[in-house]
C-alpha cells in the first residue's frame, strides 16, 4: 500500500521532447509538492498545491506545468526538455501545517540526452 506513488521511476528522453510524471497519494493529505534533486543531492522546491490550488511556484521555467485534478493527484508536465532538466524529481505530500513531516515518493530519474 504505497502512500505516495510516482510513475515512471525512470525516464530517458531526447532534448526537445515533452514528458509527464504522475503522482498519487492515498494519505488524505491536503498539500502536495514537486521537488527537484540535482546531481549534488540538493532538494529544491518547485511547486506546492493545497487542495488543487497552486500555492507555490518557485521561479521554475514555464516549460514546467503542474496539474492537480484532485487533492490526491499532482502531475508534472515538462515541455521542450533540455539537458539541464536531467535530475531526480520527487513528489511529496503533507497535512496543511509546517510541523508535520512530508511523505515522499520514491522519485523519477529523468535523463535528457
Amino acid at each position: 500500500d504505497t502512500a505516495v506513488s510516482q510513475t515512471p521511476k525512470y525516464l530517458v528522453t531526447q532534448m526537445g521532447n515533452d514528458k509527464s510524471i504522475k503522482c498519487e497519494q492515498n494519505l488524505g493529505h491536503d498539500t502536495m509538492y514537486w521537488y527537484k534533486q540535482d546531481s549534488k543531492k540538493f532538494l529544491k522546491i518547485m511547486f506546492s498545491y493545497n487542495n488543487k490550488e497552486l500555492i507555490i511556484n518557485e521561479t521554475v521555467p514555464n516549460r514546467f506545468s503542474p496539474k492537480s485534478p484532485d487533492k490526491a493527484h499532482l502531475n508534472l508536465h515538462i515541455n521542450s526538455l533540455e539537458l539541464g532538466d536531467s535530475a531526480v524529481y520527487f513528489c511529496a505530500s503533507s497535512p496543511w501545517t509546517d510541523r508535520y513531516g512530508y511523505t515522499f515518493g520514491s522519485g523519477t530519474r529523468l535523463t535528457v540526452v
Binding site: 543531492k41 532538494l43 496543511w96 510541523r99 513531516g101 511523505t103
Partner: protein, 113 residues
C-alpha cells in the same frame, strides 16, 4: 544563499563509532525536521523538533534543537552499517508560514563493518 548549512558534507566511519552532524542557520526556525534518504528512494522523516532546547531520542539517534531555534544536531551512538545514507535537515522558510520546506545540502554518512 543557503539558509540551512549542514556539516560535515561527508562522513565515513567504522561500525561502533559515534558521530554528530550539524544543521546551522542565521535565521530562527519555527521547527526543524531531519530526514534520511537511501539510494533510489525518497527522503524519510526521522523527527520534527519544535521547542528551543528540545531533545528527542529515536533508538540510537539523538536530535537536539538549539535554544535559539537556529540550529540542530543529530548524534548517532554506536553507528551501524544500516545507518548509511544521506541525512537532510529541513524547515519552513522563516517568517513565511504555510510555505514548503527548504532543505540543507545534506550529510552523506557511510558506515563500514
Amino acid at each position: 544563499t543557503q539558509l540551512l548549512e549542514q556539516s560535515p558534507q561527508f562522513l565515513s566511519i567504522q561500525e561502533g563509532e559515534n558521530l554528530t552532524v550539524y544543521c546551522n542557520s542565521s535565521s530562527v526556525f519555527s521547527s526543524l525536521q531531519w530526514y534520511r534518504q537511501e539510494p533510489g528512494e525518497g527522503p524519510v522523516l526521522l523527527v520534527t523538533v519544535v521547542t528551543g532546547g528540545e531533545v528527542k531520542k529515536l533508538k540510537r539517534l539523538t536530535f537536539q534543537f538549539g535554544d535559539a531555534r537556529k540550529d540542530s544536531s543529530l548524534h548517532i551512538t554506536a553507528a551501524q552499517p544500516g545507518d548509511t545514507g544521506l541525512y537532510l535537515c529541513a524547515g519552513p522558510r522563516p517568517n513565511q508560514a504555510g510555505t514548503a520546506l527548504i532543505f540543507g545540502k545534506g550529510t552523506t554518512l557511510s558506515v563500514s563493518s
